[in-house]
Amino acid sequence: MSKLFKLDIVTPVKTFSFENVSYVKCPGVDGYFGIMKNHTNSIINLTDGTISVKTDKNEVKFSCSYGIADINSDSSDDIEDKVLLLVENAEELDK
């Protein structure tokens, strides 16, 4: 079974979409946490820091100011995993 999931990083001025993500590291209020496929449904506050997105091909990093991670919360079917990061200010960092 595939261990990949979809990820959207949504800001008011831009949306970054990823199809095949294996792992995301986010700056939570109590420290960094990781998201993989089949993560429990949760809504988590994000704080300033770096978001690292690992896809099946490469790794991309974003700066992040305040935000919210919405993990699988509105997927009515359990088959597809979807992670939504609502971030007020996100910029892709140089590789």
């Binding site: 001025v13 109590d30 949760s42 609502l86």
Partner: protein, 285 residues
């Protein structure tokens, strides 16, 4: 002939005005398009924040969250969104007129004004209104931070009980040829119409209340951002129409002037010919 020279000068100046208005129209059209794109991009974010809020809010007690709580209205904050520059038809004056009407209805002393754009700022500052804050010269390089700065300031005023309600008056973009002038209540926020009940269990980190109370200001920020963009695209659309009309008018005037110029020229030629003929006849005699 002096008359001919005058006319040709006038034709020249009207033609250059026509060129300027035509250029302004093009610029405005390009700006409308850009603002529209920005508006489109901001929609997923605002929709997702609202969805989240509407899913969490029904599960908690609303009275703990000050931005949602309704209280007795003593002072009202009114945000008036206008532009910095004119040349946009009745765009600014209609906003100001509606704002004045609202202020009159609520009582001048119980209104605190947040004026956005030079037009409103100048108008209300000069006339002894209760202007709490003015923002201008930001339209040109407006970004998301501008919107969050503005909303932070009225959220603070709301939380300090300086104002008990906040309304926004602005032009909402409808089509290129028309705008809707509207008043919208932004604080306290009312989500009840969009409440959605779900049966899922989530983990919340930190608690639901903390998440919602940080999420709501963000939602107001993005709303402010969208309102600014709506107003900005309406302004440019209004300017486009105004400049289009001006170009048309200039065309009309040039046509009339040219007609007059040709008539004058023809008259001059006729008199000259008559003079020559008269002179020749005199020689023959």
């Amino acid at each position: 002939m002096a008359n001919l020279k005058n006319l040709s000068e006038r034709i020249k100046s009207v033609t250059s005005i026509q060129q300027v208005t035509k250029a302004m129209k093009m610029v405005a059209a390009a700006k409308v398009k850009k603002a529209q794109e920005k508006m489109e991009i901001s929609r997923p974010y605002s929709k997702s924040t609202q969805d989240l809020i509407c899913r969490i809010l029904p599960q908690i007690s609303v009275s703990d969250i000050s931005l949602v709580e309704k209280r007795k209205v003593q002072n009202t904050g009114i945000i008036v969104i206008t532009s910095d520059r004119g040349f946009a038809g009745s765009f600014n004056s209609s906003v100001i007129r509606l704002a004045e009407k609202e202020i009159e209805k609520l009582g001048k002393d119980s209104v605190r004004l947040f004026c956005l754009g030079k037009k409103a700022s100048e108008y209300f500052s000069k006339r002894d209104f209760n202007v709490k804050e003015t923002y201008f010269d930001f339209w040109k390089d407006m970004n998301y931070d501008t919107a969050s700065n503005i909303s932070t300031s009225f959220i603070n005023a709301f939380e300090n009980n300086e104002i008990d309600e906040v309304h926004v008056i602005y032009n909402r973009f409808k089509t290129l040829a028309s705008q809707d002038l509207i008043i919208e209540k932004v604080l306290p926020v009312d989500f009840t119409a969009d409440y959605s009940v779900t049966n899922y269990n989530y983990d919340y980190e930190p608690g639901q209340k903390e998440i919602v109370s940080t999420l709501i200001p963000k939602h107001i920020n993005v709303q402010m951002w969208q309102q600014l963009l709506e107003s900005y695209s309406s302004e440019e659309a209004a300017r486009m129409i105004a400049m289009d009309n001006a170009t048309e008018n200039a065309k009309e005037i040039i046509k009339e002037l040219k007609l007059e110029f040709n008539k004058a020229r023809q008259a001059a030629i006729t008199t000259e010919m008559l003079e020559i003929v008269g002179g020749a006849e005199a020689l023959v005699d």
